[in-house]
Amino acid sequence: MDLAFTKEEQAFREEVRSFLRDNVPPDTRRKLVEGRHLSKDEMVTWWRILNKKGWGVSHWPEQYGGTGWTSVQHYIFNEELQSYPAPQPLAFGVSMVGPVIYTFGNEEQKKQYLPRIASVDDWWCQGFSEPGSGSDLASLKTKAERKGDKWIINGQKTWTTLAQHADMIFCLCRTDASAKKQMGISFIVFSMKSKGVTVRPIQTIDGGVEVNEVFFDDVEVPYENLIGEENKGWDYAKFLLGNERTGIARVGVSKERLRRIRDLASKVESGGKPIIQDAAFREKLAACEIELKALELTQLRVVADEGKHGKGKPNPASSVLKIKGSEIQQTTTELLMEVIGPFAAPYDVHGDDGSNEAMDWTAQIAPSYFNNRKVSIYGGSNEIQRNIIAKAVLGL
C-alpha cells in the first residue's frame, strides 16, 4: 500500500498544469469560475486546442488517437481540468459514443466518425431518456422501422443536453416491439440536420437552457447507421454508461468550489468580521472538505484498482462515487449560497444566445445552486444507485 504519486506522475501533473496555464483562454476560465455559460465557439475552440496537443480523446486506444496513459494519469488529467477549471471534453462524443463505435462499430463507421469526434467537427448529443422513460430507460418507445435500406424513426427524446449545438445524435430506438423490453432496442446514429428532427429547448430552474426535447417525425436514416447488431442496443448502452465510472465523482470540481468558498468567506463580512471567522461556518466547511477527502481516496482506490486489475471487474467502491460525488457538489453550492447571503437574489436575464453576462458574478451563485440539484438525478438517480448497490454489491 502506497498513497504517494510517483515522481513521473507528479511531473505529469505539472505538465498538465502548465499546459492549462498557457493554453486555456482566460475568458473561458473566468466564465467557468464565475458559473457563467460558455458559447459553443468558446467550447469548441478550447477542445480543438486540447486535441491539437493530442489530449482530446486521451482514454481512447492509441490507434484512434488516444494517449496510452495509465489510469492514474487519466485521473490526474481530469482532476487538473476540473480544478483549473477548464471545460472537460464533450462527454457525449468523447466518453460515450466514441468508445461504443470503436468497440462495436465496423471499420467504415470508425473511419467516418472517430476523427470527427476528436476534432469536434461533429458535436454529438445523447438520445436516451424519453418523457415516459427516465429511470426505467428500457421502456423507451421511440421506434425505428426498417424500410429497404433505411430506418424510419418516430418518437421523442428528452433531457437532451446541448442538443441545440449538436450535429449528430446517438439514439436508442425500439426495433422489435415483440421482444422483451431490453431485447428489442438498437443503437442508431444520425444527423441532427435530418428532415423531421425538431429541437425544443427546456428552460431549467436556474434560468438556463442546457437541455432540450427532441422530436422525430418520419426521420429517414440510412440502414448502415446502425452500430453493432440489431436489437443489441441495450448492451451497448450499458457498456457506455459503465465506461465512465470515476469521472462522475467530479472531485476536482468540488475542490475548486471549496477553494472559492474559503476565499470568498474571508472577504464577505457577517457580524462585522469575515464569515470564515465564524466557528459554525468554519466547521460546516471543514465537514464538507473531510467528506471530499474521503471521496477522493475512494476514487483513488477505484483508479488504482483499475490500473492494476483492469476495468473488467468493477470495484464495489465505484458505486459510492456517484452518490457521494453528487451530494458533495450540492453541499458546495449550498455553502456558496450561505456565504453570499442576501446578494444571491439578483437574477441575470439570459441573452438570446444563452449568455449571462449582464450582472455581477454573484448573480450566478443561486443559479448554480438550483442547477446542481440535477446531479443527484441524472446519470442514474441516487435512488437507482442505491438499488444497484443493494442488488449488485450486497446481493439483496
Binding site: A279, A286, I290, K293, A294, T298, L394, G395, L396
Partner: protein, 380 residues
Amino acid sequence: MDFDLNEEQRLLKDSIDGLLTDSYDFESRKKYMKEKGGWSKAVWGKLAEQGLLGLPFDEADGGFGGGGVETMIVMEALGKALVLEPYLATVVIGGGFLRHAGSDAQKAAHVPGIVDGSKTLAFAQLEKNSRYDLFDVTTTAKKKGEGWVIDGEKFVVLNGENADTLIVTARTKGERRDNSGIGVFLVPANAKGVTKKSYPTQDGLHAADITFTGVEVGADAALGNPDDSLALIERVVDEARIALCAEAVGLMDESLKSTVEYIKTRKQFGVAIGSFQSLQHRASDMFVAAEQARSMSMFATMAGDFEDAKERSNAVAAAKVQIGKSLKFVGQQAIQLHGGIGMTMEAKIGHYFKRLTMIENSFGDTDYHQRRVADGGGLI
C-alpha cells in the same frame, strides 16, 4: 499509488483472520470476558506465538519491523472479531511510547515482555476535567533526588486493572493547560501509592480509575524529555486514533455483513424483509458510509508516516471525523434493521454497536476533531 496488500501483508492478514476464526467466535468471547481482567491469557499467548505482539517493534529490539499498514491489518481483524485483549493499550500505545522515546535500557526492560506476551501495559492519561485535550494535565511529577514523585488521578485507563506497567502523563512544570512542562513516566502498577478502582466498560472491555499518591519512581522512569513531551504524546495518540479507525472499519464491515445476512433471512409478510426497498436503501447507505470510512482509515494509516506533525494531526483528525460519522450511522442502522433482536445482549450485533459507540468517544469525538480541522485551516 497502490492500495493493495503485498504478499507478506496478505499472509499476515490470513494468519490473524485464521487465528481469530478458530478461537474467537461469539460464544468463546463470552467466556473470555469472565476471566480475570476480562480477557483471555490463552488468546494473548497465541497472538504472541504468531509474532503479532512484536509486530511494530524493530528487529533489533526483538520485533518484526512492521509499519502502519501491518497495524491496520491487525486492528481491522481485531475489530471484525470484537476482540477484548489489550492490543491497543499494550502494543500500539505502550509500544508506541517505547519505540519513539524509549532509551535502550527502557526498551530492554519492557519490549521483550510485550513481545512474548508475559507483560501488558496501560496508558494513564485522561483526567477528571481534561476531556480530549492532551495538554490539559494536572497530575504532577516532582523531582526528588534523581527520581520523581507522582501525584494525581487518572480515569478510564483501559487495561488498567491488568497492566504490569502504567504509562502516565504528568506535569513537571507550568500551569494546567500549558503545552510545555508535560512528561511521560513508566510506573510499575504495583508501586507503592498506586490505588485502582477497576470496572468493566460499556463495550465489555475493562478499565480502571487510578490514583497516584506520592508514587516514587527512578530517574529512568521518564520516557523522552520529562519537561517537553507533548509532541511525543500527540504522536502516539495519533497512532492510537489511526488504530481505532482501522478497528472501527473491521467492526463496521462485520456489522454490515451481519445486517445484510439478517434481512435476507428474516421473513415478515411472507417475504424476506431485505426485499423491501426502504431497507435496501438503508443497507446501501451503510455500505457507502463504511467505504468512506475505509478510505479515510487508509489515509490515516499513511498519514502516520507524514514528516510534518501538523499535517499528520490534521489528516488523522479528518479520518476520526469520517469514522465517527460513519460508525454512528452504520451502528445505529444495524440495530434498527435487526429490529427487536438487535436490542438484546444475546445477539452479536448489539455488542458491535457498543464497541463502535465507545470508539467515537475515544481520544476525541467527531465534533472535537471537526473543530480541529476547521481551526487548522481546512483540508483542501
